[in-house]
Amino acid sequence: MTNHWIDIKNADCIMIIGSNAAENHPISFKWVNKAMENGAKLISIDPRFTRTSSRADIYAPLRSGTDIALMNGIINYILQNGLYHKDYLVDHTNAGFLVNPQFGFKDGLFSGYNKSQKRYDKKSWQYQLDEKGIPKIDKTLEDPNCVFQLLKKHLSRYTLEKVSNITGTPVEKIVNIAKTYGATGQKGKSGTIMYAMGTTQHTVGTQNIRTYAMLQLLLGNMGVAGGGINALRGESNVQGSTDHAILFHILPGYLKTPRSENQSLAKYLETWTPKSNDPKSANWWQHTPKYMVSLLKAFWGDRANKSNDFHYEYLPKVGANYSHISMFETMYDGTIKGLICMGQNPAVGGPNSRKERKALHKLDWLVAVDLWETETAAFWTDPEADPKSIRTEVFMLPAAGSVEKEGSITNSGRWSQWRYQAVHPPGDAKSDLWILDRLYKELKKLYAGEGGQFPGPIVDLNWDYGQGEEPDVHRVAKEINGYDLTTGKLLPSFGKLKDDGTTSSGNWLYCASYTEKGNMAARRDPTDAPNKIGLHPHWAWCWPVNRRIIYNRASCDLNGVPYAPHKPVIKWTGPETKWVGDVPDGGWPPGEKYSFIMKPEGHARLFGFGLADGPFPEHYEPLESPMKNMISPVQINPATVIWTNEMDEIGDADRFPIVATTYRVTEHWQAGQMTRNNPWLVELMPDMFVEMSKSLAKAKNIKNGDKARIITARGEITAYAVVTDRFKPFKLNGKTCEEIGLPWHYGFKGLAKGASANVLTPHVGDANTMIPEFKAFLCDVKKEVG
């Protein structure tokens, strides 16, 4: 979230799209309800009428996988009807920036597409620069090559009728949403967008989010109270895991993973440190060398120094795609021999889970660390498996639950909150930290004793978490914050980090979280800040530097006057008293530096040239779709990798005419190991089910409570049928199209057993992130007989 949970209460309009917040983030409705009490409107956009929709002023259905078409249509309406916030566009976004005249778009493809490599050469997706190397800007927004005009042209194709034909959303609903949400473009008003996996889990997931970000920029909703682009994270600590680099393409603090061509630290820093010739651009990532060197110092301590390049050579260099799908494809073909699975259950949660379960069969060894024996840990007991033919050695390590250990979690609003151990874990269960500490120490012993291929990174690792039975979690937190190595003192903030080896920080974004003043994440003072917008700055700690709403310089005009004086995030009060309110995005006086400090050009990007699949969002159909793309001849995202290995079958609309999507319910959590073993929750949601419209049920002779069979190109499952008005068939260009929905929590272990929806989902991912396309695929439905 650019903002945070409490801040939702400040919104004048709330759009929940690609999210079922009421069911999956119930606490958010404390703040949604508060906003609504103050007159805010709630819009729920979802293929299915959900418990979120039940609260909404406007509910609009859309066919799964067509978010871009809908949002482009809404933005087009906003542009055509002048609902945007013009001052904001000129002062804070790249709307006026002139783009290389070579840039173009034709027949569904942007300029620079290489068909054989399925990749874009992005050379033409650049700004025009002046003689000083600074981007040229037309503040009137009238130059035909400026971003604003290019955007208008690109989106003009998304007429209401066309959008309605693609999405199945009625025209009057689209207009109603555009007008209602568009009203937040007025100065002083704000709207928030709450989204989750319904947005991201598509082959166009990143561009889906781009459309939301662009809508927010056009309406001046970024950086303001009650605004922002708010990803509701699916697990309590997903934000923390991401910050600390759980994904393969980043190091802690969103530093780039070294690529194979970055063979030296100098080469790495030259490649990944952005430059700007504009003195008004803060270009914050210019500090990359300080953060990177401090990270290497945290990793390898005294052994890392200038003469050995701070042991940069110890970092793995990425030469291929190591995303989830790719990893399981590689496991299936026998290349990966061992897997440590901590708190993850891909046999239920992974896409195309029949294939992923089969991939586990090929492992020599599997270590499963979890609270229960999951379907992954017990994959050889899968009814489809033949245990006699499986040679995998499985190690089951019982883990401590979240209340059985001490440490921090970082919530969606970027708050790092310290938690204490409430009870001891049962039996032999151990904390993750204990398990990793023992594993590391054993590995170090082996490498130190036997050498091996590349012992340095392990043997030289800075590993100093005390001598107790349980590693000292405070030492870990302090290492993450970082030290001044000349004094041994904890650093007060990342402003003090250096690139000469005299500072360390395990994650520059968390530098300021655990200082000489103490553990900031453990603070519990609920007092609000004087601007009374619910910042509560002394409750826990928030990255970066306790800034509760990021990009907050954009909440003010160039004189530092808030657009919304009744809910100011920050306000300039003169050279003596400076900014008051939230921690500003840099303390410079207003107008001295641009507001979007993380971008080298200092402006938020309506034209986003960093992505793999285009600088503007363009609608492409999901990999499996019932419709031909109606907006261009390019059917699916042209920059997405399509796997064509064994068990990667793709279904077509002739055999599989029904759209299917997956989701979660309040009563169960993720792959279900924590909730399908809890009798009280099993009581509420005991069985796997499929939701379908009355018309589909009638056509298939299925009654509420019957068992239905759902079939895709990759597998089939049975589930109880919920026949409901909450699903309605879509009218798509005169054709009727049905959609069904499946919760994905169930598996063959636990108290509540049921078929896994992911048996049905495809092994394909987003062009930028490779997040799997769980949310839109094709199926057929039959009545289960007998």
Binding site: F29, K34, F49, T666, N704, D725
Partner: protein
């Protein structure tokens, strides 16, 4: 302590069922063995109140005038201002169905309860459920053990959205009217339920965002059975020491009838839910 009330602003409810689980947790009630939720309206489980379930979220799906609504209602004891169940309770001189008049709470004293089922029979909503194993009546206790110790009921504590609010009764009534006004301003047709019902009202107050017809199992005009007066007369001698054996026999027969009647009524409630 002042008279207490509990507000169920069903407009703010998202049917997360935290209250249902928190109730089980605080009262140490076991899970029921359930199967797929075939109840009308979708996700509801279990099917009705029971000795293991004092608090149940009900789901109502309706399409009216082209508008789909998915409504929710937290179902449980109303804690009447003038509770018929207490009047009906035959145990004397100290009633098993206990009325904490100061707080406005009605709860079962399990030590005294004989499991006769009269409380269910005479409850206008047939809420109390008799546990056949322990032969005791069971129902929402208003978390009397928490409230008398300065804590809010478990359901109100657990509710994440502000749909369940525990406070002084007067404040609850005020809040209900504010919520009603807020909904009316949005063009809805809300209804307060519990303030005036049965003449003297209940300590559980609903704000229903839609007219009561949208909640088909909730009686529009709940009434205390007219034969409660007669029944009480009949029971009077039970407390006296001069009770004749014949009369004891008669009362017990009546009590047994009640229990059977209770079973019929409980299954009637289930039928409505289905």
């Amino acid at each position: 302590m002042a008279e207490k009330g509990i507000l169920f602003d069903m407009d703010k409810c998202i049917a997360c069922r935290s209250c249902q689980v928190a109730c089980k947790q605080w009262n140490e009630l076991p899970a029921e063995k359930t199967t797929f939720f075939a109840a009308k309206g979708g996700y509801q489980n279990p099917i009705g109140l029971s000795p293991k379930t004092y608090n149940l979220v009900k789901f109502y799906e309706e399409e009216k005038d082209g508008r789909l609504r998915w409504l929710f209602r937290v179902h449980r004891c109303f804690h009447c201002v003038d509770p018929a169940c207490v009047k009906a309770c035959p145990v004397e001189p100290v009633k098993a169905m206990t009325h904490h008049k100061e707080l406005g709470i009605v709860y079962v004293n399990k030590e005294l309860c004989i499991g006769c089922g009269a409380c269910n029979e005479y409850c206008p909503w047939h809420i109390p459920q008799i546990d056949d194993n322990t032969e005791k009546s069971t129902k929402c206790t208003f978390c009397v053990d928490r409230v008398t110790n300065g804590l809010e009921p478990a359901c109100a504590k657990a509710c994440p959205t502000g749909a369940i609010t525990f406070d002084d009764y007067d404040k609850i009534i005020q809040m209900a009217h504010q919520a009603k006004k807020r909904l009316e301003a949005k063009g809805r047709h809300p209804q307060i339920y519990g303030e005036k019902e049965l003449g003297t009202g209940t300590h559980k107050i609903y704000v229903l965002p839609e007219p009561i017809e949208s909640y088909p199992d909730l009686p529009k005009n709940p009434k205390v059975s007219e034969d409660l007066g007669f029944y009480r007369e009949l029971l009077k001698p039970l407390g006296s020491l001069t009770l004749s054996a014949a009369l004891v026999g008669m009362v017990l027969t009546k009590v047994i009838d009640m229990r059977e009647g209770k079973h019929t009524l409980a299954s009637k409630e289930e039928e409505v839910t289905k």
